[in-house]
C-alpha cells in the first residue's frame, strides 16, 4: 500500500481529479458533529472486525 493508492482511492470516492488545497484558515474552528464522529467510530470498529473495546 502506497501513499499514492490512498490518495487515488480518496479522490475516487469524492469524485475529484486532484487533492483540494486547503488553508489552515479553512479548517480553523471547524468542529466535527457528534453524529459524524459516531458514524466514523462505527465504521472504524466494523473495519477492525471486532466488538467495541470501550474508549
Amino acid at each position: 500500500l502506497t501513499e499514492e493508492r490512498v490518495l487515488g482511492s480518496l479522490l475516487q470516492q469524492l469524485h475529484l481529479r486532484q487533492a483540494p488545497v486547503l488553508d489552515r484558515t479553512d479548517v480553523e474552528g471547524l468542529t466535527i458533529p457528534a453524529h459524524l464522529r459516531a458514524r466514523y467510530v462505527a465504521l472504524l470498529q466494523r473495519s477492525h472486525g471486532d466488538r467495541p473495546r470501550g474508549k
Binding site: 500500500l1 469524492l14 486547503l22 488553508d23 479548517v27 459524524l36 466514523y40 465504521l43 473495519s47
Partner: protein
C-alpha cells in the same frame, strides 16, 4: 389465461431429451484439516457403444455433458449451480474429466452438519430443436454397482496442499528481519497521513493508520503437481482479506467547509495467504 391484461403466449415444446444422473459423494473428513483445495476432478467412465449402434451414427455425433452442484436448502427446495459443461464424442469411450473444484468450494461453505456432495450429471443433445439427433441418448457412464463397472465407477479426485507447509504463517515476527527465506507473513506498516503534504487540512481523521503488508515467500508445489496444473502460476504471498478505512475529510463547497465521513475500500490488510496466480477466486455461496 382468464385475465385481459395478459396476452397468452403459446410455448412450443422443442426437445426434452435429457438423461440425468445424480452422484452422491460422502465428503466429511475427506478434506484434511488446514488444507487448501487446489482442484477437484470428477472422472466419469464413458462406456463403449455396441458396434451395430456405432455404424448407424455420424462420426461427428456429440453430446453435451453438464455437471451441476445440487444443494438441498433448509426449506427442502433444491437449487442447482452450473459447474462444468463440455461436449463429448458419442463414438469415444474411456475416462472423461470434469473440473468440479467450484462445487467442492460451495460444499465447504455449507453449515455443519453438511449434506453429502450432490453432483447432477445431465447428457443433452448438442443441438436443440426438431432436427436434433438422438445420439446423446447412447452416451452411458459407468455407474456404481453396475455389472462390469467396478473399475469404471465415478471418481472424485481431490488435490489439496497442506497449509502447514504451503500456507502463510500469520503475523511476522517483529524481532526477525525479513529475508527472502521468510515465510509469507503480515508485517506491520504504519502510514503517517500527517506527514503527507496533500493530506494537510484535508484529512481530519485518522492522523495515520496501520495498513500492514504481505511480505516473504511461499513454498512452491512439487514439480509433478505443477506439471498437472500448467495453468497455475507460482504461489505468491498476497493480501487475501482486506478491510476498509474510514476517514473524516474536509469538503469545501461554495467557500464554506464541512467535515464528511468516507470509507476507502481494501486499505488495511487483514490476512496474507499464499495463492497461485491464475487460480480461480472461489465464489461465495448464495442463500
Amino acid at each position: 389465461r382468464f385475465s385481459q391484461n395478459f396476452r397468452e403466449v403459446a410455448g412450443r415444446f422443442l426437445v426434452s431429451e435429457v438423461s440425468t444422473h445424480l452422484l452422491v459423494f460422502g465428503m466429511e473428513q475427506r478434506l484434511p484439516p488446514n488444507s487448501e483445495l487446489v482442484q477437484a476432478v470428477l472422472r466419469l467412465f464413458q462406456q463403449p457403444l455396441p458396434r451395430a449402434a456405432l455404424r448407424r451414427l455420424e462420426r461427428s455425433a456429440r453430446a453435451q455433458v453438464t455437471i451441476e452442484w445440487l444443494r438441498v436448502r433448509d426449506d427442502g427446495s433444491n437449487r442447482t449451480s452450473l459447474i462444468d459443461s463440455r461436449l463429448v464424442s458419442v463414438h469415444e469411450s474411456g475416462w472423461k474429466a470434469f473440473d468440479v473444484t467450484e462445487a467442492v468450494n460451495f460444499w465447504q461453505q455449507l453449515s455443519r452438519p453438511r449434506q453429502p456432495l450432490l453432483l447432477q450429471v445431465s447428457v443433452q443433445s448438442e443441438h436443440l430443436g426438431p432436427g436434433a439427433s438422438g445420439a446423446h441418448r447412447l452416451v452411458r457412464f459407468a455407474a456404481q454397482g453396475t455389472a462390469g463397472a467396478a473399475r469404471g465407477e465415478p471418481q472424485l479426485e481431490l488435490h489439496t496442499l497442506d497449509l502447514k507447509d504451503y500456507g502463510a504463517q500469520g503475523n511476522c515476527d517483529p524481532e526477525a528481519p525479513v529475508t527472502k527465506d521468510t515465510r509469507c507473513c503480515r508485517q506491520e506498516m504504519y502510514l503517517d497521513l500527517q506527514g503527507m503534504k496533500w493530506a494537510e487540512n484535508w484529512v481530519l481523521e485518522p492522523p495515520g493508520f496501520l495498513a500492514y503488508e504481505c511480505v516473504g515467500s511461499c513454498l512452491q508445489p512439487p514439480k509433478p503437481l505443477t506439471f498437472q496444473w500448467t495453468f497455475l502460476g507460482p504461489r505468491q504471498c498476497i493480501a487475501s482479506e482486506t478491510a476498509s478505512l474510514p476517514m473524516i475529510v474536509t469538503i469545501k463547497e461554495g467557500g464554506r467547509t464541512r467535515p464528511q465521513v468516507v470509507s476507502l475500500p481494501n486499505m488495511r490488510v487483514q490476512k496474507c495467504s499464499c495463492a497461485s496466480d491464475g487460480a480461480p477466486v472461489p465464489r461465495g455461496l448464495e442463500p
